[in-house]
């Protein structure tokens, strides 16, 4: 399978229930690929669309995801600095092969599309028709991002026992950009292996997953983190890469554009460019390599950006 095909497969699919007479609306939004009920497949294909059939049963069998974004949760998160984020990346990391369906609230479909793309998730988007333009623009952007089939980079491992509390720990780790790999048993690859219920990580501690994530952060140390974000508390990262290059996904859950976001990546990287939804290909700014880390700023972050960098050896 070529990288290009991989990229196409990773694009989330818009679930469309209206008949082919609605094709002008999809075309106006530049949406060319949809998922429809099997009986509608032929008509849509005849209309020139790339179509995937999906039965009601298959749709119902998919794990339903909450709409991503920021939400107010009194007493749990500050409304302005570190608000509560609903994000699904940890679910994708936990169940890499699973199939998902987003049933998103108006205004969040493009974010959902970006989130699914960033994690290579097999996801269908049930969207509000008012979001067609935004989703279409995001799909067009995602389609134009150069393919990259790179493994995820992690700083620690979480031993998955399938428990809900473990999932919540993963959620809060992801929220803090503490990159983890889900494993079935402790991995010698990592200095930190979180296995809930062990003396090092008692279950009681995980009852407060935010504090627990903070403990893990302290154990790892900020200096050893593969990625740091400065200038926002509502951007979640996914980092993939190998010895030659890395790809950083930046997902902005806040809804407001962020300018001058500063990124620190552990390791030395040169060159690099950002692909920013709504802005296209953009040069990185103020890039420096020092003390085993690479820092740069991106001039603006809309909903989503992909940054590719080449390793220095």
């Amino acid at each position: 399978m070529t990288p290009l095909v991989l990229a196409l497969v990773a694009l989330p699919c818009v679930y469309w229930t209206e008949g082919v007479e609605s094709k002008a609306r999809l075309e106006a939004a530049s949406i060319k690929r949809i998922c429809v009920a099997p009986e509608q497949v032929d008509a849509w294909r005849a209309a020139g669309f790339s179509v995937s059939p999906i039965t009601a049963a298959e749709l119902a069998s998919r794990e339903v995801l909450p709409g991503p974004g920021v939400t107010a949760r009194a007493g749990l998160a500050s409304p302005t600095r570190a608000p509560w984020i609903v994000a699904n990346g940890w679910r994708f990391s936990r169940n890499a092969g699973a199939k998902y369906v987003y049933d998103v609230a108006p205004g969040t479909a493009a974010l959902a599309a970006a989130e699914a793309f960033a994690y290579d998730a097999d996801a269908i988007l049930k969207i509000d028709p008012a979001d067609l333009q935004a989703v279409g623009a995001m799909m067009t952007f995602l389609n134009g991002v150069p393919a990259a089939d790179l493994p995820a980079i992690a700083d620690l491992a979480v031993v998955d026992d399938g428990a809900a509390v473990t999932g919540e720990v993963m959620n809060l780790l992801a929220r803090r950009n503490l990159l983890f790999k889900v494993v079935k048993a402790p991995s010698p690859e990592f200095r930190i292996n979180i296995a809930l219920g062990t003396p090092d990580y008692p279950l009681q501690e995980a009852a407060d997953p935010s504090a627990f994530a903070q403990k893990i952060r302290r154990q790892l140390t900020d200096q050893q983190r593969s990625v740091r974000v400065y200038g926002s508390e509502i951007v979640i990262c996914r980092l993939t890469g190998d010895r030659q290059r890395v790809r950083l996904h930046l997902i902005n859950y806040g809804g407001a554009e962020i300018d001058g976001l500063r990124i620190r990546l552990r390791g030395a990287y040169r060159g690099g460019e950002a692909y920013i939804a709504g802005a296209g290909r953009v040069a990185l700014e103020d890039q420096v390599v020092a003390n085993g880390a690479t820092e740069f700023s991106i001039p603006r972050l809309t909903t989503y950006a992909v940054i590719d960098l080449t390793g220095v050896h």
Binding site: G231, D259, E285, D286
Partner: protein, 398 residues
Amino acid sequence: MHRRTFFRLLAAAAAPTSLVTSRRRLATPLRAKAQSSQIPSGLPVLRVVSSYAPAPMPGMPGPYPGRVVSVKSEKCVDTATGTANDEVVREMMARGMRTLTGARTTPDAWRRFFQPSDQVGIKVNCGGYPYCISAYEIVAEVVRQLTGIGVRASQIYVYERFQNQMDEVNYAPHLPEGVQIVAAERANRNVDNSGYDPAVYLEADLFGEDDTRSSMMRLVSTRLTKIINIPNMKDHGAAGVTGCLKNIAYGSFSNVARTHQRGKSHTYSVIGTLASIEPLRSRTVLQIMDGLRGVWHGGPFARTAKYVFYPRQIMFGTDPVAIDRLLLDIIEHERRAHGAISIWDRSPASLKMDDSQARDEDPNVNILIREPGHVEYASTFGLGVYDRSKITIEGVTV
């Protein structure tokens, strides 16, 4: 009325990448040594990153450490209306500057600090709008004196962190054409970072926040050669008072609201540390504390006239610590006069965490344990003289 376009000094105006690279120096510890028994233990680790070297004589404390000129006038503000008398303010400014410098003429006094080639920043305070901001009359007079000694209007930058506050205050109609009005962020929303220099910052993990950096405004690090600081005489819920140190420090760096939350304030050590970071420290050469009006409770804001008072004075100096040391007494005195708890009160009984409504309604409520000790702590960086017995006050009455 006209309004010039506000703008931020964005990345394009900053030093090229190669320069930024060469200026960068990681891991420069700048913790003040404990010089006072009152310095509490358990201060957070603060890491300063800046490769700017200090000037031979840094602007703070400058040529007049421990020296404050206080110019008072009963006529400077109509306390019934809050309106300032422009003519009286001008005279207060002239007398203050001449007394501070010993110069025979007012222009000569300004020439002691500024040359026509300087790019001069005027750090105003807009947070106390509408009742207590850096007075239009003072800011306009500063600009008038600067242009009078040959600094072009286009080389003068009135600045504050937030554009929405600058919009509210709107200095433009009071200033000559060409004066730049600059804000780093549209508002206090933590989404605008381009106006800050990624190579000059304070790094600290204070409450477990993920964004651990506070970066200096690019305007300060890359454009300005001199800065005039014009704070107000205000109470502050986290710092005790907000005077010279707080205005220049928290008004020139990003992401500082993170220093105080849930009852705890790290302003004690962060304010002085930020003020000491180069090039801010070296370039801030003149302190003009606007005490025409003041706020004795509820600060730094002044959305109500309830806590406004009228010190009717302007203080001049180059030592921010000495001026703020006097400010502590002024705010404390005013609070006592109203029967309010001391700015030094650390009683849990006074604390209603995060309840700003209760704080605004009752001057005996704190929403944080205030840290007026930040003034003394700043002195441990050599920013000025804290010991009241070593501060010389020269009083002038207009």
